[in-house]
Subunit: 429 residues, 2 copies
Amino acid sequence: MKGYRDMTREELLAERQELNERYENYKALNLTLDMTRGKPSPLQLDLSNDIYDVLNGDFKTAKGQDTRNYGIAEGIEEIRAVFGEILGTDKDNIFMGNSSSLNQMYDAIMRSMVFGEVDSPKPWAQVEGRKWLCPTPGYDRHFRVTETFGFELIPVPITEDGPDMDMVEELVKDEKVKGIWCVPCYSNPDGIVYSKETCERLAKMETAASDFRIFWDNAYVVHHLSEDRNEWGKLPDMLSLCESYGHANRVYEFASSSKITFAGGGISCFACNKDNMTYAKKYLNAQTICTNKVNQLAHARYLPNAEAVYQHMMKHAAILRPKFEACQNVLNEELGFDDLWHWTNPKGGYFVSFYAMPGTATKIVSMCKEAGVALTPAGASYPYGKDPQDSNIRLAPSFPVIEDIEKAVRILAICAKITAVDKLLEDLK
Amino acid sequence: MKGYRDMTREELLAERQELNERYENYKALNLTLDMTRGKPSPLQLDLSNDIYDVLNGDFKTAKGQDTRNYGIAEGIEEIRAVFGEILGTDKDNIFMGNSSSLNQMYDAIMRSMVFGEVDSPKPWAQVEGRKWLCPTPGYDRHFRVTETFGFELIPVPITEDGPDMDMVEELVKDEKVKGIWCVPCYSNPDGIVYSKETCERLAKMETAASDFRIFWDNAYVVHHLSEDRNEWGKLPDMLSLCESYGHANRVYEFASSSKITFAGGGISCFACNKDNMTYAKKYLNAQTICTNKVNQLAHARYLPNAEAVYQHMMKHAAILRPKFEACQNVLNEELGFDDLWHWTNPKGGYFVSFYAMPGTATKIVSMCKEAGVALTPAGASYPYGKDPQDSNIRLAPSFPVIEDIEKAVRILAICAKITAVDKLLEDLK
């Protein structure tokens, strides 16, 4: 098939007619399909249904501590050891939270707002015009946190290797730039794995702010679609890397079991170096007596080490792979004939990032909605929800069943084609 | 037996000799007894060991929502209904947290520090010389939170009816006074239940600060030692009460299941009026996607209403009552002969508050330590850890077994007598 740009006005009009029929046919089906959020599917959640069976009336840690009672603010040792193994750092660098790692990120910035970091000249709330770097497209909930705290969100384009480091190195010369959001493994939504060089440069660069922080959200650290173990653990341990360049305080790392066990009932953690940890604990020990240790124990018994996590994640991958493949197949089938659009084919994570013809994403999303397909709002992956190209649409194929994914992606593709044809016809006028 | 003040120097010396022998005998036993924290005992925790059995592979709420997945930031409806019933307020006024209600209190003040309250002229972090009222003796962890946030802690003596309201009404004329800690039911450590008049006056009083807040920590709302249902639910619903006096925004109420199910794995909540809730949610929805809903579901199925909670709490009471009685018996036996000291005999909660002869509490605690009895540091229940009378010692009889309580309290009583005799001998010099 010819590319649209090579078509005559008549050919485009004919194509438009055909696409419109297909679109109307789908509309007539009164579908309700949801591709909005990166949620695990019920089948994936079922994998952990027996997680509390391991408790079996015995709530004591290996050391004999009663998880049902108060205490052990940093979390029980055995679960810190599991996350330590996954993140490639020592268990003593880890502080356990409740189900939400986002909550830990928010709290970390909140602490800096009120008290400053250990190496801050003053609390961040007192820094007028504070700024935060946002590799873009990125995770909308990250952006919302720093927006809520009054940071100016500075977009930094993301490349195949991670954020554009030339730009980052330039931007951090501004002392008002206090930090950067990073999803280093299968970035949300592009599925990028940061290159070794990117990690090195992030660790090495000089920043004007003495208290610059990398928020290293390792949300998908074990969320590979492939069984190939070579795909695992490609990222360096960012804590050591920063330390090796003399910036030991630079990084907070985050992870959770939200997409390993239960998104609505898992456990999370953050990791940092000793200075940051000692300082954070001063406030964390005022904030709480402990997080949910019974849940930590259940997780530690259920997934006692990285190998157990690998085996468990392979069960997730077996469910997710065909969904991601279905997505690719429909996109290739419908849109492979032209390069007006492109999309990612990630090796892990939870998203396919679709780039429509610039200027059409908003229209595509609204047309999809009319046909019963809920998509994340166009621009959602950009600071302030504004994609300057109006091109990116984040697809989340994890939750729906394959049949629904195929329908939803096909409708998306039809809408992408309709809007492209309309745009080209407009240009021909 | 004669009171010490009626004894001659010789009689006191003889008494001292005898007490010393008893003390040394206990010391020789090399005991390790802990009466420091209000922790439930293993037997109490055992009461809820089967709490996760109710899940039984079915993780859906009554409305069919999957608790294992993301969403429902405010918590599932059925558990909000249970806490609503307990607190005498509507479920829509309730926002669920994870295991720690202290964490919710800390976060609430943190929000006010950075963003202010809905009716604040400016964020509290910008209020130089901000102050907080601390009914005293009170809960050390409360005081620590407001101290951490840089509030000056203003002690207000607690009476049989709650905080001294004449003083409170006077103090709130200072606009720098932003709030007050209250444990209205079985206050920590005195076991006071606020009178209806105290509640009324707290709700009614005019405060100079437009954004004055009562932190109503209903930690022991269902923690009665008596089976008498008349003891239950004596407190007014503070939300309605404040509203009825035109101060609807005044109160945040807190509760948790820490001493109902698991201290290290329960659930907590806060309650407030609509304006506060809408405002708080603006930030809470940036902070987290949801708290642990699987645990909420387990709790809602395990304790589906206030009656189920009552039945469950009566099992706790059956374990706790003999411990509190043992405490009273030993204190009466050893110290009932004199009024140099006094102590509380609470109808609920987790503490017995012992008032030694002024100027002796620190010495008593250190002598107890030497004899293997760990007590909360003298002064712990006072702002900045300083009891101006050096008199109060908080006893926590919940955790140890009865035999240990008897030993520990007897040693405490002996030390109280020794220090009193020494003080009186000193005065006779």
